[in-house]
């Protein structure tokens, strides 16, 4: 891995009394990076600072080696962006709009190629304000690829897309990264998708980075010894398994799952006790599996909160 | 396309303007034997003129002069050497259209054999104003022809491409 594509040092941003970013430090290496956090965590604020759309109160940020405050034009020449809920001028035809945007960049794929990439070639002559939400999103994705960018920021890229389009979108990200070396900075709530494509992730909450690192490393770190028990009634199961020996922790996840923590050496014993408890309470247990997804990791990180410095 | 639309708008506006009625201009004065009274006005196209006097039995002559001849008449003090565009002699009243050859400044000059005659002149433009109507209609026609040709050319091109494709 080479130099960082995004480098953030001590970034702070206030909107009146609200602290949107609080001394954020972040290094994003080339590859596919996932930026994860709840609503209002500061993801979009950081993206806007990285694009030079707003200025931080403190700290500095660099994208592809360019300072966001002084070299924003150089950054925008080299990156592609899909904003969350993108807004395009309404009355323009799709192909005309994409053609004009392509002309902003020196070297770019043609408008027709970009539309083909996202499967929108048949909508080329439709007006932008007559597109469905999914089509609108796909136009935004196509435009993010205009100018052969080295880095693409995608804010909620798969919202409004159907399953097939999502898969195609994720495949496109992986393919572009592999073949063209394009790096991606993806902000999304759909963690299963990020887990599928990202090399590295960072978790942010209330303007502070809680954790960052390679996806599998973080999953391993935060979900070791955690298992998901799928049952017919999670509430009653949780009540029934309280007090089981060697069960370090248990918490409900939805109506049918309970997440338990136990050491590996005691796992079989704990599972047997859980099954017995469930049986006596007439609760069906469908299976026990490691709770080691990115979503599980995110929940654990959020539960633990920021590390003490 | 856009230029064509703009030219079309000019054409339509010209056509609308050509039908807009104008206000009536009032002139006149006192004329006596051996002299004249005149009213100068600006005219873009044909005008409707009404001339009457305070004595309906007195005869007068009415002449239309262009600006040059009006000046000449003024310098000479009489209408001897002037060229008239229109002349109506020995009349007691006039009401009708006077043709204007080109837009400019004209004068209606009136002479009489009566001792004194008080003259009222009313002038108004005739609608439609042919100049504007022709200009507007011409622009619309040009746009229609050009657009028509464009459609024909595009269709024949599309046809040729289709045939090559087959």
């Amino acid at each position: 891995m080479g130099e960082s594509v995004v480098s953030v040092r001590g970034l702070t941003k206030h909107f009146g009394d609200i602290c949107a970013l609080d001394s954020v430090n972040l290094e994003v290496k080339p590859g596919i990076f996932g930026f994860i956090g709840p609503n209002g965590a500061g993801k979009t604020t950081l993206l806007r600072i990285l694009l030079g759309l707003i200025r931080p109160n403190n700290g500095s940020a660099e994208v592809l080696g360019f300072d966001t405050s002084s070299d924003s034009l150089a950054i925008r020449e080299r990156v592609g962006v899909l904003h969350e809920r993108p807004v395009f001028p309404g009355p323009i035809r799709v192909l005309e709009y994409v053609r004009d945007v392509v002309r902003f960049y020196g070297d770019s794929q043609s408008a027709e190629q970009l539309l083909k990439t996202v499967g929108m070639q048949d909508a080329a002559n439709r007006r932008m304000d007559q597109l469905s939400a999914g089509m609108y999103q796909r136009i935004g994705i196509a435009l993010a690829f205009a100018g052969n960018p080295r880095l693409i920021f995608l804010d909620e890229p798969t919202s409004n897309l159907d399953i097939e389009s999502r898969d195609r979108m994720l495949d496109l990200i992986v393919e572009e990264n592999k073949e063209s070396g394009v790096s991606f900075f993806i902000s999304s709530h759909i963690l299963s998708e990020l887990e599928r494509v990202c090399h590295n992730v960072a978790f942010i909450n209330q303007g502070r980075i809680l954790e960052d690192g390679p996806v599998q490393e973080l999953i391993g770190k935060y979900t070791a010894g955690r298992y998901r028990v799928r049952s017919s009634d999670a509430n009653r199961l949780l009540n029934g398994i309280k007090g089981i020996s060697h069960l370090d922790a248990a918490e409900i996840r939805g109506s049918t799952s309970v997440i338990i923590s136990a050491r590996e050496e005691h796992l079989e014993e704990v599972i047997a006790d859980i099954r017995r408890a469930a049986n006596s309470a007439s609760i069906k247990v469908y299976g026990v599996e490691p709770a080691c997804t990115l979503e599980d990791t995110f929940r654990e990180v959020m539960r633990l909160g920021p590390a003490e410095e | 396309m856009r230029i064509a639309r703009i030219v079309l708008v000019y054409g339509l506006v010209f056509v609308i303007l050509s039908f807009l009625p104008g206000t009536v201009a009032y002139g006149g004065g006192g004329a006596s034997e051996g002299s004249y009274v005149g009213t100068t006005f600006r005219a873009l196209n044909d005008i409707w003129v009404e001339v009457d006097t305070d004595n309906e039995t007195c005869h007068f002559s009415l002449y239309l002069l262009d600006y040059e001849n009006t000046n000449k008449a003024l310098q000479d003090g009489n209408l001897g050497d002037t060229e008239f565009l229109v002349a109506h002699t020995d009349i007691v009243a006039f009401s009708g259209v006077i043709r204007i050859p080109y837009s400019g400044v004209y004068s209606l000059v009136l002479t009489t054999q009566a001792d004194f005659l008080w003259v009222h002149i009313r002038v108004t433009a005739v609608v439609p104003r042919i100049q504007l109507l022709v200009a507007g209609g011409g622009l619309i026609l040009v746009v229609v022809v050009v657009m028509g040709l464009r459609i024909v050319i595009l269709r024949s091109k599309a046809k040729a491409t289709h045939q090559i494709g087959r």
Binding site: F88 | I16, A125
Partner: protein, 259 residues
């Protein structure tokens, strides 16, 4: 350089397609042409003369041409005062409201270039429509030729007037970022300034700076109380300077705006 040219053309194309689509420009053209012709097509004023008073004719040509110019251009002033603030608000403040400004600034475009180009279009389009309308009216509706210097003065005043009204609304748009606020503010502010300028004792020069078109029209029409040419030129220069200052401040604020 080539890249900048391509960007400029792309941006102009986007602006025209986004904000000046059919029939906006066509309406400008139609309305300005109608206004320019409306008051000059009638026979209008006449002058009577007889043997005793031949001099009446002498002044006719000069005064008629000036009056026609006045009648042709005067209605522009009230149209421009409404049209320009609405137009500037539509192209500068509205993109803040609907979010398209963020989309466009995601692409490699300098903010100063973006704002200047937007102002330029809002000045050039109505300015050109008004100028062409006036020239057409002179050609097809006057019947007499006014002096070139008077026409040039009025055309210059129209452009400076548009620029000054546009610059005020640009500043309001950048500050408020709301289309309705800046459009209303632009109109109300200008009318307030004109009313203020009409107060007794208000400096004549300031009045000409606030409304250079009115000063130029008064000069062209002539008569008692008409300003001197030098006063009109000072007014034009003052209005240009004021517009320049407003635009520079607008750019400075826009550079710091949070998008």
């Amino acid at each position: 350089m080539v890249q900048q040219k391509s960007r400029t053309r792309a941006f102009l194309s986007l602006e025209i397609k986004s904000f000046y689509r059919f029939p906006i420009v066509e309406c400008f053209v139609g309305v300005f042409t109608l206004l320019a012709f409306l008051n000059v097509l009638s026979v209008g004023s006449v002058t009577d003369f007889d043997v005793e008073s031949p001099e009446n004719l002498a002044g006719f040509l000069q005064s008629a041409a000036s009056a026609l110019l006045y009648l042709s251009v005067f209605p522009f002033m009230y149209l421009l005062v409404l049209l320009v603030p609405v137009l500037v608000s539509l192209v500068i403040a509205k993109p803040f409201e609907d979010g398209t400004i963020r989309t466009i600034l995601t692409h490699p475009i300098k903010r100063s270039f973006l704002l200047l180009t937007k102002i330029l279009i809002t000045v050039v389009l109505p300015g050109t429509a008004a100028t062409v309308a006036l020239l057409l009216a002179i050609q097809f509706g006057f019947g007499i030729q006014p002096s070139v210097s008077q026409v040039a003065l009025l055309v210059g005043s129209i452009w400076v007037f548009i620029l000054s009204v546009a610059s005020v609304t640009t500043l309001l748009s950048v500050i408020s970022k709301k289309a309705a606020t800046s459009a209303t503010g632009g109109v109300v502010l200008w009318y307030s300034m004109v009313l203020l300028a009409d107060l007794y004792g208000f400096p004549e020069t300031a009045r000409h700076v606030i409304n250079p078109l009115s000063a130029a029209l008064a000069y062209v029409l002539g008569g008692d109380g008409a300003p001197l040419l030098a006063d009109v030129l000072v007014g034009l220069l003052g209005a240009l300077s004021m517009a320049f200052v407003f635009i520079v401040v607008s750019i400075a604020l826009f550079e710091r705006s949070e998008i």
